[in-house]
């Protein structure tokens, strides 16, 4: 169950290359679990930008002084996010959430490694807190292109037992990718589960490492969406179902969290010939909305 709320910006702050925005949005915080996301209208009521922007939820407070708040982290990619970055406290913001399927928490105490790429680390921090509350051990691997694109290092140090950091340019932590250090972290911590959020290429490599070791791995994917609520069919990717059949599934309602070994990483952006309803390779017979 999601709600549409006319929210109000409470604060916006710069965090390295990113922006963290907190919105008073009563009704969303109470329903949010780690891994959920919000979809935000941009440009105001007369905007020529019709589509919502989706962001993973970083933090919620059910009862602040101002009512329930939701915090999310975003990078400026285009006009919509530039508009969002120019919002100031008390500006109105239309928010829909919480959306999607959240991370599933283990029923017993486990050792968990959380792998975040860039601001993909944002939803992992509330997840880490939830795991810790259940007595699990949490270790972090955070990676980014450069130091200013690392997110959540301080939180991760506070919540996690250990934290490993990589950057592509070596400006902080080890030079390289999270997948370069992940095997060593898994060995050292005896991790039994992996959770990951970040760019698709990173999720693919993390899923591969998890599969090699037979460790269950949940990943939160980032696909471009128009609605975030399951009606537009734009955010699909090929995923193997419980019945072994691959389908083009919506990352907004069937995801964004998937089991890493169910996503057909090499086929993302294509329609593999064995997915349900794939076109017969003869002449195409149509298409449309």
């Amino acid at each position: 169950m999601a709600v549409q709320v006319q929210g109000e910006v409470l604060s916006i702050r710069r965090v390295g290359a990113y922006n963290a925005m907190t919105v008073v949005a009563p009704g969303i915080a109470e329903l949010t679990r780690p891994g959920h996301f919000v979809a935000v209208q941009v440009g105001g009521p007369e905007s020529s930008m019709l589509l919502r922007r989706a962001f993973a939820i970083y933090d919620v407070k059910e009862r602040g002084v101002y009512g329930g708040t939701v915090e999310f982290v975003f990078a400026v990619h285009g006009k919509g996010t530039a508009w969002l970055a120019s919002r100031r406290p008390q500006d109105k913001l239309d928010v829909v959430g919480p959306l999607g399927k959240p991370f599933r928490l283990p029923t017993s105490r486990v050792n968990a490694t959380l792998v975040g790429g860039g601001y993909g680390a944002a939803p992992l921090l509330p997840l880490a807190s939830a795991l810790r509350e259940r007595g699990s051990r949490v270790d972090f691997v955070l990676g980014a292109g450069s130091a200013d694109r690392l997110f959540g290092q301080l939180d991760a140090k506070r919540i996690g037992t250990t934290i490993a950091v990589t950057t592509d340019d070596g400006s902080v932590g080890e030079r390289g990718r999270v997948s370069d250090v992940l095997p060593e972290v898994l060995d050292r911590t005896g991790s039994e589960v992996i959770y990951a959020c970040g760019p698709m290429a990173m999720l693919k490599s993390v899923s591969a490492i998890a599969a090699e070791r037979g460790i269950p791995c949940q990943v939160a994917v980032e696909e471009s969406m128009a609605c975030g609520i399951g009606v537009c069919m734009t955010c699909v990717l090929p995923v193997i179902g419980d019945d072994g059949v691959s389908r083009m599934v919506r990352s907004c309602v069937e995801g964004p969290v998937f089991l890493g070994d169910r996503v057909r990483w090499d086929d993302v952006g294509t329609v593999p010939s064995d997915v349900l309803g794939a076109p017969v390779p003869v002449a195409s017979t149509g298409g449309g909305n």
Binding site: M1, A2, V3, Q4, G27, E30, L31, Q41, S48, M49, L50, L51, R52, G80, D94, V96, E223, S224, A226, C227, I229, G230, V231, C232, M233, T234, C235, V236, L237, R247, M248, V253, V268, G269, T270, V271, V275, L276, G277, A278, P279, A283, S284, T285, G286, G287, G288, N289
Partner: protein, 352 residues
């Protein structure tokens, strides 16, 4: 989940306007529908508002077999609009009947089922599968998907092909269930296609489907959509849609029209009604504003009330009436060059 956390949109009371509308013998309580491909089969939107409050739920076009659709990226935002090349992804008619139509029927929603096929035979079979199904209120025949590699396969671009499909669906659909043909604006003469559909038995017309469009990513220097071209929708196409509704209503004033194309507000909906639509579909706007259909309904009711119109049906096609006397109170500084149409002013008979 407690009841308290369930916050669906509760519609404010509507003004006293008779919003009911008749489409080919079937009365709908109000004229605001969803648009095919913009509301799935209603379940997702039902968390935001009660889908039975809609005039009707127009479901995403369903085909005979499950269909994966096209690769991603399938969507590109454009000024006041978007391009899509979904490629009719869907579960196929059998799964649709079992999961989606039955849900709409149980829910008490008025289901307008959109069907799409690659041949006349496909449409015949789809109509046969739908026949007698509870919850089915109307059939919308999608003959105008723009996302095809072969433009010759767009039935709505050819009057003969359009007529053949419509005739097949009408013959295989229960009497009392209106069959509407959804037209493409990408034709030279939309009235010719409209006439062909009506002559073939269409009870009404859905006007319009998306326009074929394209955008190129200047960073990758490649088409932004994996499907290269896509269907353009949203407020950007509204004037095209209003023009099409106008032309169709002018030529075929007795044929009910379900109007759609970029409706975002109640006044947008009123434009379509004034052009000749007996009902409207709210489509792309739902992606950015899931409760939009209820807001449009509310705003439309108020817009009618503000204009002293008690019944929606009185407003249908009203823009086609002859110009009325208009005498500006003072000379219009910018309108001087425009001819002012004046009709003779009548006076009461002089009393003895």
């Amino acid at each position: 989940m407690s009841e308290m956390t369930v916050r669906r949109h509760v519609a404010p009371p509507l003004p006293h306007v008779d919003l009911s509308t008749k489409l080919a013998g079937v009365t709908f309580p109000n004229p605001v529908f969803t648009a095919s491909g913009c509301a799935a089969a209603g379940q997702e939107l039902d968390q935001f508002f009660d889908v039975t409050d809609l005039g009707g739920v127009v479901t995403k076009s369903i085909m005979l077999a499950p269909r994966s659709g096209r690769p991603t990226p399938r969507m590109a935002e454009t000024p006041s609009g978007m391009l899509n090349s979904i490629g009719l992804q869907g579960p196929g008619i059998d799964a649709f009947l079992e999961k989606d139509l039955s849900w709409l029927a149980d829910r008490g929603a008025r289901a307008v089922v959109s069907i799409a096929g690659g041949s006349v035979d496909d449409y015949t079979k789809l109509a046969q599968k739908l026949r007698g199904r509870p919850g089915l209120t109307m059939v919308e025949v999608n003959i105008s998907c723009p996302n095809v590699e072969d433009r010759g396969q767009v039935f709505a671009c050819d009057p003969v092909a359009a007529a053949a499909v419509v005739q097949a669906v009408r013959r295989n659909t229960a009497p009392g269930i209106p069959v509407f043909a959804k037209l493409s604006p990408d034709v030279t003469d939309i009235v010719a296609i409209a006439r062909a559909c009506v002559d073939a038995g269409a009870d009404g017309l859905s006007v319009i489907n998306t326009l074929l469009g394209m955008t190129i990513d200047t960073t990758t220097m490649r088409p932004a959509l994996a499907g290269i071209t896509g269907g353009l929708s949203g407020p950007a196409i509204r004037p095209v849609a209003v023009r099409c509704v106008w032309q169709v209503h002018q030529a075929l004033p007795d044929v009910p029209v379900l109007g759609m194309g970029g409706i975002r507000t109640g006044l947008d909906a009123l434009e379509f009604v004034l052009a000749g639509a007996s009902a409207v579909s709210v489509g792309t706007t739902v992606f950015g504003d899931p409760t939009a259909p209820m807001r449009v309904l509310y705003e439309l009711a108020h817009a009618l009330a503000e204009r002293g119109i008690d019944r929606l049906s009185d407003a249908v096609g009203l823009a086609h009436r002859p110009p009325v006397a208009y005498v500006p109170e003072e000379p219009d500084p910018v309108g001087d060059e425009l001819p002012v149409v004046r009709t003779p002013v009548g006076f009461e008979e002089e009393r003895a």
